[in-house]
Chain length 113, copies 2
DNA sequence: CTTCAATGCATTGGTTTCTTATGTATCTTT
DNA sequence: AAAGATACATAAGAAACCAATGCATTGAAG
């Protein structure tokens, strides 16, 4: 089962920030694979979604980048900036809070009965 | 605190379906107030978002409607159709599953350490 | 040795979904 | 009488994602 794509909307940026927080330094393709692995293929980030998101994070100063060459193949590594780190905490805690609220909404009957 | 609007994306339809499942029969404005109340003002559904969503649910045959007059003021009541009921179960369980996955993603460090 | 899959970057066009703003009208409270 | 709440609705625009495409390198399989 793969989640319908609407669900990813709004959470992608937070997912990426959280992964960077946990792994310090990652490149784009690595992120797609890590998410796929960690979610047992339930979330598959498309490149058309990921790269624009990474570029926005960079424009906003939340990440810094450095190019690295393995032979001739280039990798663009992303690392959280100080602002990126605090923004990550914000976004993660907001999402956690949101999920609690949603859980409450979805379980109304069980909880009130 | 009100959640940043990106978070609502993708969950609105499921929220509406779930409320209709719990309350059997609701009209639009009532839904906005109920969500506001149940989430302690953290989620505020705008009418510009809600009404198009309700119309789509109707077009898709997931809800049926009936107009009712309180004096001259009209209310449009929405009720889940049989397809709507099964669709609701689908969507709610998908969202619950998604939230578990997200929770796992956000807690990686805690869980692996 | 060549072809296909995987790795790695990126952009473009299109759709969905929501926001903001606006419009109309009724009812209630001050 | 006016303002705010109730109640419907639409329209223009932005945001965020998907699907498709493109380019290039590397590794594995035949």
């Amino acid at each position: 089962m793969i989640y319908s794509s609407e669900l990813i909307k709004g959470t992608l940026k937070t997912i990426v920030l959280k992964l960077l927080e946990d792994n310090n330094r990652m490149y784009g393709y690595e992120i797609t694979q890590k998410v796929k692995e960690l979610t047992f293929d339930k979330i598959q980030i498309t490149e058309g979604a990921l790269y624009p998101t990474l570029h926005v994070l960079e424009e906003d100063g939340l990440v810094t980048t450095e190019l690295e060459y393995n032979g001739k193949r280039v990798r663009k590594y992303y690392t959280l900036s100080p602002e990126g780190k605090s923004k990550t905490k914000e976004k993660v805690s907001e999402l956690a809070d949101f999920m609690n609220t949603m859980k409450f909404l979805l379980d109304i009957k069980t909880q009130s009965a």
